[in-house]
Structure formats: C-alpha cells, structure tokens
Symmetry: C2
Subunit: 217 residues, 2 copies
Amino acid sequence: MNIGVLGTGMVGQAIGTKLVQLGHMVKMGSRVAAHEKAVAWAKGNGSSASYGIFSQAAAFGEMLFNCTHGVASLDVLRLAGEENLNGKVLIDVSNPLDFSKGMPPTLSVSNNDSLGEQIQKAFPKVNVVKALNTVNAMVMVNPGQVHGGDHTVFLCGNDAAAKSKAAAMLRSFGWKEETIIDLGDITNARGTEMILPLWVRLYGVFQSPMFQFKIVR
Amino acid sequence: MNIGVLGTGMVGQAIGTKLVQLGHMVKMGSRVAAHEKAVAWAKGNGSSASYGIFSQAAAFGEMLFNCTHGVASLDVLRLAGEENLNGKVLIDVSNPLDFSKGMPPTLSVSNNDSLGEQIQKAFPKVNVVKALNTVNAMVMVNPGQVHGGDHTVFLCGNDAAAKSKAAAMLRSFGWKEETIIDLGDITNARGTEMILPLWVRLYGVFQSPMFQFKIVR
C-alpha cells in the first residue's frame, strides 16, 4: 500500500521504517521539501522510501499516520490539505504534550476534549483512528520488545471500517489480536491521551521508556 | 491501630470492613452523627467498628483514609478539622470525578494540578499519600480477585515514612510488594487521577469493574 507518514521524529522514523520493511511504499512528510531527517531516512530505506512536504505525503498515501508533535498536529494537517486527507484512514499517534511550561509536561487539550477529537472535528471527512499514542516508538513497531508483547494497545475512532484497517496494520506490526482494545468512538482519545502524564512519570521512575500498560482482567 | 475512614460509600465500606478484619479499630465518618450507611456498616462489623461525624472519625484515627467523592473531599477535610488531621498519614483514595455535566465524567481538577496536591496544599501538616484511586473498591482490599493479584497499585506523596506506612497497609490488604509502584512526590497524583477517564471507558467496554492496570517491563 502507499502510505504517508507525517512527521520526521522518532515516531515517524520508527513507523516509516517498519512500513517499508513490511513491503509498503512510504512517503515521509515535513514542512520543507527536503528535511534532513527525512532525506537521511529515505536514503537508509531504499527505493520504497521517499519524502516531500506534508501535502505531498498526504496525497501519496492511501493510509496516513500522524506522527507529529500534538501541539502542531492541527497546523500540520491544514498544511497537508483537506483534499489530500478526505476519505482516508488517518492513524493519529500524536499526543498533545506541552513542554513549553517546563517539566513535567501538561496537555494542551484534555478532560472535556482531546486532540483526536479536535482532528476529527476539523477534518470531518477523514477517518481518524487514535492508536499507539500510549506506546514508546520502538515498542509501537516491535511490541515483543517489552514483556514478550504481552501488553495493551488502545484504539478508538468513529468509523468501524477504519478501525478494522488500523487493527490489521497493528497486527502486521506484531500486535497480537488479544492485545488490541477498541474503546469505541473518538471521544475515547481523552482517556488514552490523559494517561500520558502517568507515562511520563513512570519513565522517570524506571529511567527507561521500555514499559507498557497492560489491562488485566 | 485506630483508623478513621472518611466516607460511607462503596470505597469506605470496603476499606473499613477490611481494616476491621485485619484487627484494627475503625471509626467511619460522615456529615451526620448517625448516617444510615455508617450505622449499618458498624452493626455488621462488630465491636471494632464505630461511626461518627467526620471530625470524630479523624480525631479517632492514627491513620486516615479519604474515601469521599473527590469533588467534596476538601470540604470534608475542613469539616474533619485540621487539628484532627495534622501529623497523621492520610491515604487519599478519592478521585475528582465530576458527574454533574453528564457522562462521561470529567475531572474537576487535572493537568497542572490534582486533588492530591490540593489536599496536601490545604493541609500542609498532613502526610498525604495518594493510593488505590485507580482500583475498584472490591479489588482494593482483595487484589487477588483480578488476575491473581498480578497488577499494579500506584502511590505517591511527599513524606517517605508516610509512604512506607501506606505501603505496609497495602501489603496487609494483599498487595504483593512488587505490585506497588512509588511514583515520587504528591504531584504524581496528576498522573494517577488522570487515568480515571480511561478507567471509566474501560468499564464501559468490559461492562465490569473487575479489571486492572498492570505496568509491564
């Protein structure tokens, strides 16, 4: 499949690389035509990997990953262009973490709204699926790295078919069927984004990002 | 030990009963001298169980549990009286869940502050330990009911000795040493309170409160 990855950071790189390994054609998008991180990433990933500005990556992809900083995501998606997003599945991996006021970060939106919802509202014809935002970048594409893959990934969104496609993508990343919890509609992004503050604190306790939430029953 | 339990709801009842079973003397506090739930609870729990107004329960306890609704907790603690709280360990089990705007509930404080912090700030001479607020009442006092007890309870607070006492109490409730994660100071209450929105959604998905967060590494 042709996939657009928006963002050149650790998350975009991890997901982009995994997608290429899985046989997809991937275009990494950024604000500039030849972002040095995107250029280096494409060079390291062969002929299936390319790069461009956000709108080019969005136009290229049949499916899209939002791997940008949450506080910039809405702006990025406007740059990507509604016409390049509409009708597509957008897997929103971002978190509205605001580091501008120092540590620990706060959330720029939370409680009675969420970034996932803001994106869905701003782009009503996009099938937004919030997923993977509670997971470290390395673990997103290699869940077995933590506790043998025995932990949880949440997803939510308004469109059942889009969630099916997102879940299939997660399984191709290595997530076992039983580790994927579909919470329901996109308003559930409040819940998954609001566990980030605890995630950040646990990172501090363990001095490592290699941990995961697991829901046990 | 003499212990004061503030609140007559499911959490107060579960914790109060467990404490009596463990051999403690327990006074359950409420707004009125003879709250029907407190009276019924005391009747069912023998001579170690008593009840009274908040200030009486607070004065009685060497250790205290705040099991009130989070939106009322500060008010309750003012009624309990600073002089009855100072110098004591207060295990704050409450959550600032606000159901007044309908479902799903929002948090009345979050993000850059927390109820745990507000309590600590309002009562600087109390040793506040936030704990158990991410756990269903039945599971708090019987962790083995979910997944053989193999899941996580968080605690945080500013005073190391108080956290030690709280952790010992948790172990007496059945929590294994390795399931207790000390996050650090009381500002970590932001993290543990902010996972409640996800908890509420998971309750909806499972149609049961018998699940738990487990941190795996």
